[in-house]
């Protein structure tokens, strides 16, 4: 089975994120970059499917030079090879443009180039959860998204899709696009051997023109939605904090009553 896993480099969750005043994009220089956490689950799921069914896992990453670190991490976890889409014109791409570049990179693999595309169900910076569905739409493939369990049997893929009150069982015929939620598995840490091996694994660097795209199709110029303005949210007013001296619950219920919650 041929599996492609899309990974994104994002600012560390623990760092303070800011927008760049010059073009309203995420100020990536201001934060520590890491692999999007949800994508670690996607890589792990791909590796487990490969271990069960044999095959190959390819990492697909769109991002600047610095995203090489994220690509290397995925390779050191055990993926076989990688495609890194790098182009300055991609800066500021919205979800529509991102899905376009990733779809073109997938199509470039040719007919039968992959059986499954696996992604994390959201990135921790943009948090839109739309790119998997957009890729499925662009490629005319079934989407099996928000999976908390994935199984493949022959040419059938089945998932349990996490819903607000339980799950839906969904099935499709390969090839298909799958997105995973956290807790689907426990991502492995790269081993020392894995880290050493990753250095020798092939990374195919791809530019926009390799994908048959023009700078105007992507980036800030190709965005179909744009930021008009942004500002810091008004800080919350400092509240009252009391120490429980046996009357904490009384004070709390008084507060709730004053706000008409009880």
């Amino acid at each position: 089975m041929k599996i492609v896993v899309c990974v994104k480099q994002v600012p560390d969750t623990w760092s303070e994120k800011k927008l760049d005043p010059s073009d309203s994009t995420l100020d990536r220089g201001a934060t520590d970059p890491v692999m999007n956490e949800m994508d670690e689950y996607a890589v792990e799921e791909a590796l487990r499917l490969k271990e069960a069914h044999e095959g190959e896992v390819t990492i697909l990453c769109m991002g600047p030079d610095a995203a090489t670190e994220t690509v290397r991490k995925a390779l050191s976890m055990g993926a076989d090879r990688a495609i890194h889409v790098i182009d300055d014109a991609l800066h500021g791409s919205d979800a529509v443009a991102t899905s376009l570049a990733l779809s073109k990179a997938l199509q470039r693999l040719g007919d039968g180039g992959f059986d499954l595309v696996i992604l994390g169900s959201e990135s921790s910076d943009a948090r839109m959860s739309v790119v998997p569905a957009m890729i499925a739409e662009r490629l005319g493939l079934p989407q099996l998204t928000f999976a908390k369990e994935v199984t493949v049997e022959g040419t059938t893929v089945r998932i349990k899709r996490l819903t607000d009150d339980g799950y839906q069982a969904v099935e499709a015929t390969l090839p298909a696009v799958v997105s995973v939620v956290e807790k689907i598995n426990e991502p492995r840490y790269p081993s020392f051997k894995g880290i050493m091996a990753a250095k020798k694994k092939p990374v195919d660097t791809v530019s926009l023109s390799d994908l048959g795209l023009d700078a105007a199709d992507v980036g800030l110029s190709g965005a179909w939605s744009s930021v008009e303005s942004f500002e810091a949210a008004a800080p919350r007013e400092a509240g009252t904090v009391v120490k429980d001296d046996g009357e904490g619950a009384d004070k709390l219920v008084e507060f709730l009553a004053s706000k008409k919650f009880v």
Binding site: K18, S24, D94, K148, S226, G239, F261
Partner: protein, 317 residues
């Protein structure tokens, strides 16, 4: 006046609150036209009419709900083409966002997700980075497609005719690619949906065990609230994953958020920081959650929460 399409979220015709919020926002932009997929329109009609739906496109075809997301996107694309709406509004639920995503590609339109307000333009307001930054955005290409977070606006009553107009769509083979073979509802009791509840009571590491979550549930039931959990609690297996509030779980914005035994790490704050009123109970006076609260109690939740539950019950009689 041009139409604004609103995709109705419902369960057998019981309209979700977020839909009434979307209709309220739609009335600011044009004439609200609801899109109702599945059966139960007769049940839904009253609520849709009371919140200003002039027209309701009804697609009562089992095929549309037998497959994941893609069929509804095809239906909406057809309506965008025939009705030329000024915007399409959907809920920021998993389905809502993914339908919006596919619709954007199909119609060559920009998409904005997780709006917390929509104004004439249309422009959408979003609160990003855990509520620390407010962004105003607009769609420059195609038909603006906007998903809105539940509890962003108070639903207003606004009489509409809710005139039924049946629509059919001939689904492509691609839309039938991912078949829903089963729907499993895990027991939630009578509690409201976490995403759109007016009050949420959440438990974290301080709760200590799965059994102890009964303390959190009891307070939630006394307040008529939904139950949430921090990542530490769901990672430990104390409470089901779909209740997780935070960066990698749900983002909620209730009128009242009660955090019990939750320290308030960034990961959690990203999912609840825009709640209108925040209350916390935590043993550690240095816990970052206290920076956010309107009212906080430094103390043992195992003492404070049951006592609070008792007092809430007494007050409510």
């Amino acid at each position: 006046m041009a139409e604004v399409l609103v995709l109705v979220e419902h369960s057998d015709g019981e309209v979700k609150k977020v839909t009434t919020e979307l209709l309220t926002l739609a009335a600011r932009l044009g004439e609200p036209a609801a899109v109702f997929v599945g059966s139960g329109f007769d049940t839904a009609k009253e609520s849709l009419a009371a919140h200003g739906a002039a027209k309701v496109y009804v697609a009562d075809d089992g095929e549309l709900t037998s497959y994941l997301v893609a069929p509804v996107a095809e239906l909406l694309a057809q309506l965008v083409s025939s009705a030329s709406p000024v915007a399409v509004l959907l809920s920021s639920s998993a389905d809502g966002k993914e339908i919006a995503a596919r619709l954007a590609i199909k119609t060559g339109s920009g998409v904005i997700t997780d709006a917390t307000d929509v104004r004439d333009g249309p422009v959408a307001e979003q609160q990003v980075f855990g509520g620390s930054t407010v962004v105003t955005s607009k769609v420059g290409t195609g038909t603006p497609i906007i998903t809105v977070r539940p509890n962003s606006v108070a639903p207003e009553t606004n009489a509409g005719a809710a005139t039924r107009e049946d629509v059919t769509v001939a689904l492509s083979e691609v839309a039938k690619g991912a078949m829903i073979t089963d729907r499993v509802v895990e027991e939630r009791g009578e509690r409201p949906d976490l995403s759109e509840a007016a009050i949420v009571v959440s438990g974290g590491r301080g709760v200590g065990s799965g059994e102890n979550f009964s303390v959190i549930e009891a307070l939630a039931d006394a307040l008529g609230a939904a139950v949430g959990a921090s990542r530490a609690a769901t990672d430990a297996g104390w409470y089901p994953h779909q209740h997780q509030v935070g960066q990698t779980g749900k983002t909620v914005s209730p009128q009242l958020y009660v955090a019990a035994g939750i320290s308030g790490a960034i990961q959690h704050r990203a999912g609840m920081q825009t709640s209108k009123t925040i209350v916390a109970i935590n043993k550690d006076p240095e816990a970052p959650i206290f920076e956010l609260v309107d009212f906080g109690v430094v103390g043992d939740l195992h003492q404070v929460v049951p006592a609070l539950t008792e007092k809430v019950r007494t007050r409510k009689g």
